[in-house]
């Protein structure tokens, strides 16, 4: 077997290029193979370098890298980094049997990483980092302050760009070692769960602070009349927004489409405003 060291043709400049090209991962996203062409686009300069004297092998590599690919866009970085290390190794192989085995290994690495990484990426970025950054952004933006959106962009993109850049370079350097560790059963799930703990706590805060159900009626008559919201708040503040969120979550799980829920909420609001018990 050829060692990784002998095979190295990828330099820092190539990695920077691969990093920049990752912003075009989804530029031809489609239903059939999703990010496939984007993946090829990202590593194409490296493939060209590896096979600069061998057009047939280059074509073979290009076709092979047009296979289905889809993951959380930022976490494509570590997959690409690892795959590059393997592609480079493949480039110096000459024995057909060895080549085929390595090709299969690369496909296996891509397939086995993209699923779990999509899960981790979704829980990290879409369920945790983005809601938190956005929560901070919204609270700063109240009253029309432009600092809000700016703060959101800065906070989010520190994580975004950090993941894409270091994901690429570190995983390339660590080669397959990194993959094996991360893909090892349990760790991926643990990262997802830890992110979910944080995400759920933040979600709880946002339900309390950002959902409002403005009931506007009283129960009882005369001096004994009590505002309905005062009653619910004395049980627990914001219990109505919490109940609403769980009700909608239940409906979604039963398969009611978001657009239908949306229409129901709007219809309910209109009825409430008309009869005056809401607003």
């Amino acid at each position: 077997m050829t060692t990784l060291k002998q095979a190295r043709v990828v330099d820092q400049k190539d990695l920077t290029r691969v990093f920049i090209r990752q912003f075009f991962l989804q530029t031809s996203w489609n239903y059939e193979r999703m990010q496939a062409a984007g993946y090829l686009y990202i590593i194409l300069p490296v493939l060209k370098k590896i096979y600069k004297d061998n057009p047939e092998r280059l074509q073979r590599a290009v076709k092979r890298n047009l296979e289905f690919f889809n993951t959380q866009p930022y976490l494509a970085a570590p997959i690409i980094g690892v795959a590059l290390a393997l592609e480079e190794q493949l480039g110096v192989m000459e024995d057909e049997k060895e080549i085929v085995a390595q090709e299969n290994a690369i496909s296996a690495v891509k397939v086995s990483m993209m699923g779990p990484f999509a899960g981790v990426g979704d829980s990290m970025f879409w369920f945790t980092i983005r809601p938190i950054a956005m929560g901070i952004g919204i609270s700063l933006a109240e009253g029309g302050n432009i600092l809000g959106p700016i703060a959101f962009l800065v906070i989010f993109n520190i994580f975004h760009l950090g993941t894409r850049y270091y994901g690429t370079t570190m995983s390339y350097d660590l080669g397959t070692k990194f993959v094996e560790r991360l893909a090892k059963e349990g760790i991926v799930q643990r990262v997802s769960e830890a992110a979910a703990v944080l995400g759920l706590m933040v979600l709880g805060v946002m339900i309390a602070q950002m959902v409002k159900v403005p009931f506007n009626f009283s129960i009882g008559t005369g001096d004994a009349a009590k505002k309905f919201t005062d009653i619910t708040n004395s049980i627990m503040p914001n219990i109505v927004p919490l109940g609403l969120t769980f009700l909608l979550s239940q409906w979604l799980r039963k398969g009611v489409t978001p657009i239908r829920i949306l229409l129901i909420v709007i219809a309910f609001s209109l009825v409430g405003a008309f009869f005056g018990f809401l607003g």
């Binding site: 489609n30 703990v197 978001p258």
Partner: protein
């Protein structure tokens, strides 16, 4: 006219940033609305419109192959209309159906891209790699341009007057109702996030966050710090109790390496 052109150009750029290129989150309603506001010279109103839309669409995200409602397009049109004098609550309410209608365009674009994919296969056969790159980079963005010209320009150019005309005959309770639904709809976004996280045994953490925020004057950042601690503690005990001793240490040890 000039405003409609400016807004259309912004819609094109942000529509491309939204999925095909970048994903720096400039297309999030709060940011997109602010950009339109900057261009049209009224940031305060723009942010006022964008915040409720951001909350409503917080849970709208493309996971795997799913295509979320197009909050960006809805926000851009809403902010443009609000600038032209439509009340904020109404602009917000109008953005919601726009966002859902736009999904069909977005689905159509990704269908067309399937043909691009097959063309790329053919080009690989012909070893024409330069052309692969060009096709990959241009088709989707061009379709976003077409979409914006078809949807955003007419909506902004004709929209304001048409909408104002309708508004003059709309009774007050309708506007109030839209306003109320805007306050309630963030619950839908949060419900979507909740279902996607989908780990029932972690639900207590949601209640911890909820109760902290309901009873104490604590900010989101404060709870986030507690949340990070909770996540690390959870993982520490979770990994000790987990099956098999092969996974050594906790997450922090993994990060240190």
């Amino acid at each position: 006219m000039i405003e409609a052109i400016i807004v259309t150009i912004i819609a094109i750029i942000l529509g491309i940033e939204q999925q095909p290129v970048g994903q720096f989150m400039f297309a999030q309603p709060l940011v997109a609305g602010t950009i339109v506001g900057l261009a049209l010279g009224d940031v305060t109103t723009a942010i006022e419109v964008s915040i409720p839309l951001q909350l409503i669409f917080m849970g709208a995200m493309g996971i795997g192959a799913s295509i979320p409602p197009d909050a960006t397009l809805g926000t851009i049109i809403a902010v443009a209309l609000a600038k032209e004098g439509i009340p904020v609550e109404t602009a917000v309410a109008l953005a919601v159906p726009v966002a859902f209608v736009a999904v069909s365009f977005n689905t159509f674009i990704r269908m067309i891209n399937t043909f691009t994919m097959h063309q790329i296969d053919r080009l690989a056969e012909a070893k024409n790699y330069r052309m692969i790159e060009i096709l990959h980079l241009t088709v989707f963005p061009l379709l976003v341009v077409v979409r914006s010209l078809l949807v955003v320009f007419p909506a902004v150019y004709y929209g304001a007057e048409a909408v104002q005309g309708i508004l003059d005959v709309v009774p007050a309770f309708v506007l109030k109702g839209f306003n109320v639904s805007g306050q309630m709809l963030p619950a839908l976004g949060f419900a979507m996030i909740l279902n996607m996280i989908g780990i029932p045994h972690l639900l207590p953490f949601l209640f911890i966050g909820f109760v902290l925020a309901s009873y104490l004057p604590i900010t989101l950042i404060g709870v986030s710090v507690i949340g990070v601690c909770a996540a690390l503690i959870y993982d520490f005990f979770n990994s000790k109790g987990g099956s098999g001793g092969s996974v050594s240490g906790d997450l922090s040890s993994l990060m240190e390496e």
